[in-house]
C-alpha cells in the first residue's frame, strides 16, 4: 500500500516519546495533494512533534512517515529540499530590515529575481509591511514579526508546506488575508499542513484532525466533523457571560456549557430542549437576555472532545 | 540583608546550576589553560638545537662547553662548522643558535677578565631568542663563579630572573593566568548574564518591578564573583601543588586583593553589558577587551618596562598590570600590603570609574 501511495504526506501509526512523556501515541493520517490539512489540539497535544518528524528534524520512535512516497528517515535530504517549513515562534534576523530578510530568504531558495519582486508585492498586500520595508525586524511589533516570518517562508513556493501556528499574534484582518493566500496556493496544487489555535481558521481547512494527548480523536472535513455534534445547542445571551457561566458551574450543571463572547453555549444530550433550559436557568436564578438555538462550531466540538478526552 | 538582592542572587545561582555544561567549562577551562601553558606552549625552552664551534680547543673552552651541554636546555646538533656555513645551519634550522668560542679564549681569559664569547641566535622568534640569550648569560655567570673570577662576564638580567633562579616559566604564567582568567570570567559572565536577559526579554519583566538597578547589578555580580573566586583558587592550588609555584607572601592578602581585582573585572563586564544588546556582541567585546590587553600589555608576557612608552601608559589603565605586580609580588617575592598600596589603589580607582560609568548608563527601561 505504501509503495503505490502518492499522497505528499502519509503517517501511519506514528509513536514518539520524550523520556517518560508519550507525545505522539499511534497517529495515522494522510494529507492529499492540494489540500489544506489542519491539525488542531490543545497545547502539548503533540502537533509540533508530528510536524518536526515530517520535516525530518526529529526521528520517529516507530511507525511509518512517508514524504511524497519516500520514507522520511531515509531521505532526509530529499525532504528538506522539497518542503517548506515554518517553525513555531520562528524568529528572523533581528538586525536585518524587513526587505533584507525577504531578499535573503528569496535568494536562499534560489527564487529568480523577477519572481521575488512579484511575490514580495503579493506578500506586502497581506502583511502590510510595505511601508516598513526599511525597518529592522527587531523593531517590529510582535504580530508584524510573525507576519514577516510567514512572508519569508512564502518567498518560495515548494509544493508541500508545513506551518506551525503561523498566525500566532496576527490580527484578524491579516489572518483572513493570510488564509486567502493559503487558499490560492492550495488551488495551485500546494499541499499544506497547518496548526492553529484559532478555531475560525480550522473552519477554513479542507480537513481537520483533532488531537488530544498524542492521539487523533477525530479527522474529517469541518462540515462532517460538525455532524458529530448532533445534539441541540443553545446560546444563552447575557451581558455578563462569565456570571452565567459561573452560576451554572455553582449549580453543578451536568451538561456542556462553554463561555463565548456573547454568552454561554449550552447543550445536554439529544433531548435537551429550550424548555428544559429555561427551567434550569430559572431554578438557579440565572439571569439572561435571550435564548436561541445556535449552529455548533468547531470550537464547541473541540471543547467537548477535550472534556471527554480529559475524563 | 536585602531580600531583593538575595532573591536575585539565588535565581542567578539556579541558572548556573541548570546549565552544568557551562559551569563545567568555566571551572575546567582555567586548569586546561594552565596545563597548556605549562606543557604544550612552554615559554621556557628545553633541548634547543645548538651548534658549537670551539676555535680554541683549550681546557677552559672545553670546561665552558661542558657547562653548556650538561644542562638540558641545549642539544648540540653540530660541532665546529666552518664560518661560511653559519647562516646555512640557522636557515635550515639545524640549530637555533651557534656558540662560537674564539681562538684566544683561554689566553685572553688569563690576561683580561673581560673576554668575549660569540653567540649567534636565530631571532626569527624573538621570544625564543630572548630566552636563549638569557640562558647563556646565566651559564656564563655560573662559569665565572665557579672559576672564582672577581668580575663577571658582562651580562644583564631581568629583575624577574632574580626571583626565579631556575628560570621556571610557570612562575610567570601561573600568576599571569590567574590575572587573565579572573578578569575574563568576571567580565564575561557578568556582561553575558545581563545581556542574556535583555535578549530573552526577561529583563522587561524585571524592569516593571520596583527593583533598583544596583540590586540587579550586584545581585548578578556576586554569584559570578564567587565562581571567579573558585576559579582563582583552583588555579592557585594547581599552580602551587602541581607546578610548585611558591606563595611567599600572605595568603589572606592574596585572596583579598583577588576580590578587589574580581570586582574590577565585574565593573568592566557591567560596562560592556550596558552598551551592548546581544550576547554575541557582549561576548566578543568582553573577550577582545580583556584577553588581548591583559596578555599583551600587562606584563604577563612582555615586561612593561621594555614596551614603547605609549604602551607603558596604556598598561596603567589595564587592571591586570597592577594585579600582576601585586600577585607576583606576593607569590614570588613575599611582599606585604605596604609595598602594594599604590597598585591596590590603582585597581580600586579603575573599578570605581568603571562602576560610575556603568551605573550611569544602565537603563531601567527599554529605551534604545
Amino acid at each position: 500500500m505504501a509503495e503505490s501511495n502518492t499522497n505528499p504526506i502519509l503517517i501511519n501509526n506514528l509513536q514518539k516519546s520524550y523520556g517518560a512523556v508519550r507525545a505522539v501515541r499511534g497517529v495515522s493520517f494522510e494529507v492529499q495533494e492540494g489540500e489544506i490539512f489542519g491539525l488542531i489540539g490543545p497545547d502539548g497535544a503533540g502537533k509540533t512533534t508530528i510536524i518536526r518528524i515530517v520535516v525530518s528534524l526529529l526521528a520517529a520512535d516507530s511507525g511509518e512517515v512517508l514524504f511524497k512516497g519516500r520514507s522520511v528517515g531515509e531521505h532526509i535530504q530529499f525532504v528538506r529540499t522539497n518542503v517548506g517549513y515554518m517553525p513555531q515562534r520562528f524568529s528572523l534576523y533581528q538586525d536585518l530590515t524587513v526587505r533584507e530578510n525577504l531578499d535573503f530568504f528569496g535568494d536562499l531558495f534560489k527564487v529568480p529575481l523577477d519572481v521575488q519582486r512579484q511575490r514580495r508585492e503579493e506578500l506586502y498586500a497581506f502583511s502590510k509591511l510595505g511601508p516598513f520595508e526599511n525597518r529592522r525586524a527587531g523593531q517590529l511589533s510582535g504580530g508584524m514579526k510573525q507576519k514577516l516570518a510567514l512572508s519569508c517562508m512564502l518567498m518560495h513556493e515548494p509544493d508541500v508546506i508545513l506551518l506551525d501556528e503561523p498566525t500566532y499574534g496576527v490580527d484578524p484582518v491579516s489572518r483572513s488575508e493570510f488564509w486567502d493566500i493559503l487558499k490560492k496556493l492550495a488551488e495551485r496544487g500546494t499541499t499544506i499542513l497547518v496548526t492553529t489555535a484559532y478555531m475560525d481558521e480550522a473552519h477554513l481547512c479542507d480537513r481537520v484532525g483533532l488531537m488530544f494527548d498524542g492521539q487523533l480523536l477525530a479527522l474529517d472535513t469541518p462540515s462532517a466533523l460538525l455532524k458529530q455534534f448532533d445534539k441541540p445547542l443553545f446560546l444563552v445571551e447575557s451581558s455578563r457571560p462569565h456570571e452565567t457561566y459561573t452560576a451554572l458551574k455553582n449549580a453543578d450543571f451536568k451538561g456542556e456549557y462553554n463561555l463565548f463572547g456573547n454568552g454561554v453555549h449550552i447543550s445536554a444530550g439529544k433531548d435537551f430542549s429550550r424548555n428544559k433550559l429555561i427551567k434550569l436557568l430559572e431554578e438557579n436564578r440565572i439571569e439572561y437576555k435571550s435564548i436561541r438555538p445556535v449552529q455548533p462550531g468547531l470550537e464547541d466540538l473541540f471543547l467537548e472532545l477535550q472534556r471527554t478526552a480529559a475524563s | 540583608m536585602n531580600h531583593v538582592l538575595l532573591s536575585i542572587m539565588r535565581k542567578e545561582f539556579r541558572h548556573i546550576r541548570r546549565d552544568p555544561q557551562t559551569l563545567a567549562i568555566i571551572l575546567a577551562w582555567p586548569v586546561i589553560m594552565l596545563f597548556l601553558f605549562g606543557y604544550a606552549i612552554t615559554m621556557e625552552m628545553r633541548q634547543i638545537d645548538t651548534a658549537i664551534v670551539d676555535l680554541d680547543h683549550s681546557p677552559q673552552s672545553r670546561a665552558f662547553i661542558e657547562r653548556v651541554t650538561s644542562t638540558d636546555f641545549f642539544n648540540v646538533t653540530a660541532v665546529d662548522i666552518p664560518y661560511n656555513e653559519y647562516e646555512k645551519v640557522l636557515m635550515e634550522r639545524k640549530a637555533r643558535c651557534i656558540l662560537v668560542i674564539p681562538q684566544d679564549f683561554a689566553r685572553k681569559l688569563q690576561k683580561n677578565p673581560r673576554t668575549k664569547i660569540q653567540l649567534i641566535i636565530d631571532a626569527s622568534d624573538p621570544n625564543a631568542a630572548n630566552y636563549i640569550s638569557k640562558y647563556f648569560s646565566q651559564i656564563a655567570a655560573q662559569y665565572n663563579f665557579a672559576h672564582n673570577r672577581i668580575d663577571f662576564i658582562p651580562f644583564t638580567m631581568e629583575s624577574r630572573l632574580l626571583f626565579n633562579p631556575d628560570l621556571k616559566s610557570q612562575y610567570f604564567f601561573v600568576p599571569g593566568l590567574i590575572a587573565v582568567i579572573l578578569l575574563l570570567i568576571s567580565a564575561l559572565l557578568t556582561s553575558i548574564a545581563i545581556v542574556r536577559e535583555k535578549e530573552l526579554g526577561t529583563m522587561e519583566q524585571i524592569l516593571v518591578s520596583p527593583v533598583r538597578h544596583y540590586q540587579i547589578i550586584i545581585g548578578k555580580a556576586i554569584p559570578y564573583t564567587v565562581i571567579g573566586f573558585i576559579d582563582a583558587i583552583i588555579i592557585l592550588a594547581v599552580g602551587h601543588f602541581w607546578f610548585k609555584v611558591p606563595i611567599e607572601g600572605g595568603l589572606l592578602l592574596l585572596l583579598g586583593t583577588m576580590i578587589i581585582y574580581i570586582f574590577t573585572g565585574l565593573s568592566f563586564g557591567l560596562l560592556v553589558s550596558t552598551i551592548t544588546t546581544s550576547q554575541r556582541v557582549a561576548m566578543m567585546a568582553a573577550l577582545v577587551s580583556t584577553i588581548l590587553p591583559t596578555i599583551m600589555l600587562s606584563g604577563f608576557i612582555f615586561p612593561v618596562d621594555s614596551m614603547p612608552v605609549i604602551f607603558q601608559y596604556v598598561s596603567k589603565i589595564i587592571p591586570a598590570t597592577h594585579f600582576l605586580e601585586i600577585i607576583r609580588g606576593i607569590m614570588l617575592k613575599g611582599v606585604g600590603f605596604g609595598e602594594l598600596k599604590t597598585q591596590i589603589g590603582y585597581l580600586a580607582l579603575i573599578a570605581f570609574v568603571l562602576n560610575a560609568i556603568s551605573i550611569r548608563k544602565f537603563k531601567t527601561n527599554l529605551e534604545p
Partner: protein, 248 residues
C-alpha cells in the same frame, strides 16, 4: 479629586521612534475595576502604549497617570501598583514554576515566610501544583501564561496590564484564563488587556480600537456592535480597520 475614580488616564499620549509616530495623541481613561480591552491591528501601537504606562518607555509628549501617579516622574510608585505580563513570555524557562514565583516574590520585597506562603497560595489558585517543580520550558503555553499572570499578581497590584495573554493558547485554556481575569475584576482590580481574539473582546467592559497609532473607537462592545450594525466584534473590527485601509 476626579482622578481617583480612574486607574489609568492618558491625555494626548504620544510616542515617536525617530520620525515614526508609533502612538499618536491617544487619550482615554480607564475606570477602577474595569476590564479594558485594547484592540488594534499589528503595529497599531498597543504594546508601545502599555510600555509607556508601565514605565518601560518614555512618552515623547502628552500626559498619563497610572494609579494616580505621573508616568514621567513617579514610575517607582507606579511599579509598586501594577502587574505586567509582556507580549513575549518573559519568565525564566530554565527555572521551575515555583522558582520563578519565588524569585518574583523576592523581587517585590516579600520576606522569606511570606514568599513561601504566597507561592503556595498562587499555586493553588492557579491549579499549578502538579507542575510546580517542572522546568518552565517544558510547560504548554497555556500554563506558561497562567504562571506569568500569577507572577504579575504576586504583589497584589490594583492595575494589571496584560499584553496578548492568550495568543496561541488553545480554546479551553483561553477560557480558563478569562475566568481568572473576571475574578480579578470582581475583586475590584483594573485589567488592561490586549487580544486578537474577537470573542474575547466581547468579554471586556469597554474597548478601544487603535489604528496607525490613534484610538479610533472607544466604547462598550455592545454599543460598538450597534453602531456598526454587526453581530460580532469580529465584524466591527474588520470594519474599523479596513475603513482606515481604504481611505488612506
Amino acid at each position: 479629586m476626579t482622578e481617583n475614580n480612574y486607574a489609568v488616564t492618558a491625555e494626548n499620549l504620544t510616542r515617536k521612534f525617530g520620525s515614526f509616530t508609533a502612538v499618536d495623541k491617544v487619550s482615554f481613561a480607564v475606570k477602577k475595576g474595569e476590564v479594558f480591552g485594547f484592540l488594534g491591528a499589528n503595529g497599531a501601537g498597543k504594546t508601545t502604549t502599555i510600555r509607556m504606562l508601565c514605565g518601560l518607555l518614555q512618552p515623547t509628549s502628552g500626559q498619563a497617570t497610572v494609579a494616580g501617579y505621573n508616568v514621567y516622574t513617579q514610575y517607582e510608585q507606579i511599579k509598586m501598583n501594577i502587574g505586567y505580563m509582556s507580549q513575549r513570555f518573559s519568565l525564566y524557562e530554565d527555572l521551575t514554576v515555583r522558582e520563578n514565583i519565588e524569585f518574583y516574590a523576592g523581587v517585590y520585597g516579600l520576606k522569606r515566610k511570606q514568599i513561601k506562603q504566597k507561592t503556595e497560595e498562587l499555586l493553588t489558585y492557579l491549579k499549578l501544583w502538579d507542575q510546580a517543580d517542572m522546568l518552565t520550558v517544558s510547560l504548554p503555553l497555556g500554563w506558561k501564561q497562567r504562571m506569568a499572570l500569577s507572577t504579575a499578581l504576586l504583589h497584589d497590584p490594583d492595575i494589571i496590564f496584560l499584553d496578548e495573554p492568550t495568543s496561541g493558547v488553545d480554546p479551553d485554556s483561553r477560557r480558563n484564563f478569562w475566568l481568572l481575569i473576571y475574578e480579578l475584576a470582581d475583586k475590584g482590580k483594573t485589567v488592561f488587556v490586549t487580544t486578537h481574539f474577537m470573542d474575547e473582546a466581547e468579554y471586556c467592559h469597554r474597548l478601544s480600537i487603535m489604528r496607525d497609532g490613534k484610538i479610533v473607537e472607544l466604547d462598550e462592545p455592545q454599543r460598538l456592535k450597534q453602531k456598526y450594525h454587526a453581530d460580532t466584534m469580529q465584524e466591527v473590527f474588520l470594519n474599523v480597520v479596513n475603513e482606515g485601509g481604504s481611505d488612506k
